[in-house]
């Protein structure tokens, strides 16, 4: 797989995850090239969120490995021996992978602006004035510069999710992970979040998106992955997977959601 001229940004090799006796992921292989948008779709319980959470080690894989720019995530070689990283070592790798959650998870005791500057100031040691300037630029980008001093509780779900995207972008990640970013939103608020994500994709951000928004997947994704029962059933360009599904399970799923 490494024969191509450039190394993929993210590589997943034989990744498996079990919760007790229940195997959620069964030997997943996947690559994400820099600048690509990968959408993961599939019925609920198919393991797509678990896969996403294994990418930044929020879930510890039972076996297999994830590589970010060729380096194993959460693991460290020392000669012949392989060690698990401590939480604080892992935090260095996690800075390079932003994540947006279904439930937003903004810090409720901080304003939108404080949410965005928190990690740059505390983790990277960026001077506060500079962090504020950058944060205002990001809030403007997601269309919320005039809400900078609002607390999360004073914002709608769509606005909270856009702040959460700005908060992740503030760490200048190489890759953005989206875990069903619009599933907790009222239908009329979905569009504003998708618009921000579309804009990010156009700017060349590498994104892995777990979603139920088939229209977004069709229009924005460079690569579509269909998962069911803990395996990747089918993957490829969205036009091919959606237009000419090869597998019966894919056809059954698409018939249900379309």
């Amino acid at each position: 797989m490494m024969a191509t001229t450039s190394m993929p940004l993210l590589t997943v090799e034989r990744l498996s995850k079990s919760f007790g006796a229940h195997q959620v992921l069964k030997s997943i292989d996947m690559t994400v090239a820099a600048g690509d948008v990968t959408c993961i779709v599939g019925p609920s319980g198919s393991g797509k969120s678990t896969l996403l959470r294994c990418l930044n080690y929020l879930e510890v894989p039972s076996s297999g490995a994830v590589f970010l720019e060729g380096e194993p995530v959460g693991l460290r070689w020392k000669g012949e021996k392989l060690y698990r990283m401590s939480f604080n070592e892992l935090s260095m790798q996690r800075q390079r992978m932003g994540m947006v959650f279904q439930g937003f998870h903004l810090f409720p005791h901080k304003t939108a602006l404080e949410n965005v500057i928190e990690a740059p100031v505390v983790v990277k040691g960026v001077p506060k004035a500079q962090a504020i300037e950058e944060a205002m630029r990001l809030l403007d980008k997601v269309g919320l510069s005039e809400r900078a001093h609002y607390y999360p509780a004073q914002l709608s779900g769509g606005q909270q999710q856009r702040v959460a995207i700005a908060r992740s972008l503030a760490m200048q990640p190489a890759l953005m992970l989206f875990d069903e970013p619009t599933s907790a939103l009222d239908p009329e608020l979905v569009g504003e979040v998708l618009a921000v994500m579309r804009q990010l994709a156009e700017e060349g951000m590498t994104m892995v998106v777990v979603t139920h928004e088939m229209a977004f997947a069709r229009d924005v994704a460079d690569h579509l992955v269909f998962m069911d029962g803990g395996v990747i059933v089918e993957a490829g360009p969205p036009r091919t997977v959606l237009g000419n599904p090869q597998h019966a399970r894919t056809r059954a799923f698409l018939a249900r959601v379309q």
């Binding site: 939480f87 935090s91 800075q95 932003g98 439930g103 005791h109 928190e118």
Partner: protein, 316 residues
Amino acid sequence: MAESPERAAGPLHRHPDIHTVKPVDVFHPSWWIGGAVLVGFAILFIRLLITNENLQWSIVWQYLFSPEILAGLGRTLMLTFLAMIFGMIIGTAVAVMRLSRNPVFRSVSWVWIWFFRGVPPLVQLVFWYNLGLLIPEVSIGIPFGPTLWSASTNQLITPLSAALLGLAFTESAYAAEMIRAGIQAVSAGQTEAAATLGMTQAQTLRRIILPQALRIIIPPIGNDTISMLKFTSLVSVLALPDLLYSAQMIYSRTYQTIPLLIVATIWYLVLSTILTVIEHHIEQRLKGGASLDWQTIARSLFKSRFWGVRRGEALS
């Protein structure tokens, strides 16, 4: 007679326009009867306070600001705050142990909480004070090796240190449970969000978890401080001259038992009222609300809604 009132409204039953008349409120005889009985008792009680000569108000006044009482008051306050501070420090450690993944930490902290919540503070105070009978000597050294320092337990355990041990350990068990609940009330999503931003565990605890947990923990801590103020009166069994024991020492000389107990009562009430007001102020600040006026504070001291307008009536 079976006709509805509207149609029966002939010349005999001419009502005024219903929209111009204010209905008479429901009469609650039990409110008035119960209220009258209570007012009667209150008057009797006030009369007792004024007319009963055994109360000796002049003596109450004479001792209220006496140096001996004020010194006792100072010791009561010092004990309250030291016991709370030590209790909180130990309690935070026990709470973090309770949340640990290490089963030894979890079991030890469970046993600690179980023990110190289960044993009455009075029993503990006496026990700690008599620790010398159980362990005659305390020494610091290398186990099974040379002793570097040692002292007799009776020298270390003074009434003050016994009191502090008993009160702080009891408080630590309660504080641990409150702090644990506060930390657990902050959703796991907060920790995950901080982790994906690259924050370390210490940064997450300090900047994300504790500020949110604190809002949940502050009100019960305030309550505990007020309870602790009252619990400190137990130390009089160790002959530690706190507020109560100072009063007892005076009346054992002068036999003015009731006036001196009233002196102590007045001071306990004053202190617990002040602590309540401070607690409400901090709570309000944490909520980010406006600063409090005295009416809100007075109302919150007596939170009963019994005499207030009932919700159904207020909405009608």
